[in-house]
Amino acid sequence: MFWENVKLALGAMKSNKMRTILSLLGIVIGVASVVAILTLGASVNASIKGSISAGGLELVTIYPTGTSKYASTFNEAFAETLKGEVSAIQEVMPVNSHNALIRNGQNSTNGNISGVQSSFAQVLGYEVEQGSFFSMEDNISKHQVVALGSELAKELFPEGDAVGKYVSIFRNQAKSYLVVAVMESKDASLNLSYNYGAYIPYNTYTSRFMSVSSVGSYIAKIKSDQDPIAASKAITSYLDDLIGSDNYSLFSPATLSEMADQITGTFSTFLAAIAAISLLVGGIGIMNIMLVSVTERTREIGVRKAIGASPSIIMGQFITEAVVLTFVGGVIGITLGTLISYLVTSAMGWGMSISVSSYLLSAGFSMAIGLFFGWYPARKASRLDPIDALNYE
């Protein structure tokens, strides 16, 4: 019976194409806008999260911001303390950096000189292209060695072959550093920029480049089996207790990413809800066309009853017709909405995130609208008196 009803419904739709299209317009537009909004929302979210998490969600950066009062707390040894206090942390690295002029013969440029530990590259997954990153021994012995970011290396050594050569780094006076490595290019993330960096051993930095005892920032890497958001919270609560929230700031891509989720989620749900109102309007259009259809086919209904159709069979026929109508509208709307999303995302250069839930949601919702708004006309059809219906002119 169901497939016969679907066939009848398609037949009825085909016999009056123009009217079918017009009556579907509301549903099509409603579904298309819901799908487009949800898909675009998901795409924007993915694009934002992509840039937030580019450096790795597992990295948390802590910046001491307080006055001198707590400056002594944030020393090199604090990295180990922090690691010991928060069990989810795999590694904490102190980092100091400052801009300085770097020169190789005629070529000079400004670079971001960072004093880092020998594990820096490996912990961050920052690959060496040529040579090898400096060693723990270089750090302990305060050797004047440097690993160059890819862009920096290009500017200083346009012909390549930087490894083994010397560059001068200016800070009050020029000092000569042996280039031990050229790093591979790595995309900058919100908290770390790599390619214009020059990386020197931490101890070399504090004793020979710039005399500082405090640490500029700590990069904490969260264990891969731990939730980075929970870990950030653990770090925050430890630091709040220790020195108060005013004296440091913490940057956690995972936490930001969660915030982005919430914001884009709320926003697109809100917009989709507005678009869903147009689906309701579409539903009223369906009800209207179904009422017309029932009136037009009064005689047909009488004949069907005369040859044995019960009221529930007639009801089923017209409900099915309404649901098929809205389903077709839903499918067209989904296609249209996806197309719009595709055009917008490719124009904006975002990756398109297909939102399957939006498809299911709008297909289901439009069919529910068919059920809801088809119910009254179908019931009206099912209750027609057979004789009156047969004699209807």
């Binding site: 047909e300 004949v303 009853k305 005369a306 529930s312 057979p386 004789i387």
Partner: protein, 224 residues
């Protein structure tokens, strides 16, 4: 006396139109036996169609009782009446009343769908019925591609496809020319000879007299 397939007991059907009561049927009692070929005759407005609709369970009487195969139809719900129509009664109308958007075959299959017959058997039985009325080669035509006589044959096939015991026809030749009408009457006569109870309404005295028995009504009452 043989058991009546159709039995009306003091059946009244009144319509209220404004301040008037129209007594379309006013105390009718008739019995029609199994295998009878009955003509209902009478002037226009006398209540023939009203009576047919009551026999066919499309309508319910204001008072009185209608028995089909001995079953009192008074207490039946709409669904039960539909079920009864589906199993026991075949209708043929003056205006054919075929479903326009589907083929002759699908028209004939529809009552079987409502009777819960599976798709394969529906097709087979509908083909048989169409063959029975001599329309084997027009099965895939839509009603608007058929002549009046052919349409009425499709309607008859649709009425007999579920093998009902009662075949009701309200002026089945009314929209046809004389010759085609005669052919249709021959078909009814054949179907009656196969054992079906046939009741038809006609204005045509010749056709009426050719039937086995006649019921004459005037002003909602059976004439003696």
């Amino acid at each position: 006396m043989a058991i009546s397939v159709i039995s009306l007991r003091d059946v009244r059907r009144y319509y209220i139109v404004g301040d008037f009561i129209v007594r379309a049927l006013d105390g009718v009692s008739v019995d029609i036996g199994k295998g009878d070929f009955t003509a209902i005759m009478g002037p226009s407005g006398s209540g023939k169609s009203t009576m047919m609709n009551l026999i066919g369970c499309l309508d319910t009487p204001t008072s009185g009782k209608v028995f089909i195969d001995g079953e009192d139809t008074a207490g039946l719900e709409e669904d039960d009446l539909a079920f009864l129509r589906s199993r026991k009664i075949g209708f043929v109308f003056q205006q054919f009343n075929l479903l326009g958007r589907i083929s002759a075959l699908e028209n004939v299959m529809t009552p079987l769908l409502y009777a819960g017959v599976g798709p394969r058997e529906r097709r087979l039985r509908a083909k048989d019925a169409l063959e029975r009325v001599g329309l084997k080669d027009r099965m895939m035509h839509r009603p608007n591609e058929l002549s009046g006589g052919q349409k009425q044959r499709v309607a008859i096939a649709r009425a007999i496809v579920n093998n009902p015991s009662i075949l009701l026809a309200d002026e089945p030749t009314g929209a046809l020319d004389t010759k085609t009408g005669e052919q249709i009457m021959e078909l009814f006569s054949d179907l009656n000879k196969e054992g079906r109870t046939v009741v038809l309404v006609t204005h045509n005295v010749e056709i009426g007299m050719a039937c086995q028995q006649q019921i004459r009504i005037r002003d909602g009452k059976v004439e003696a």
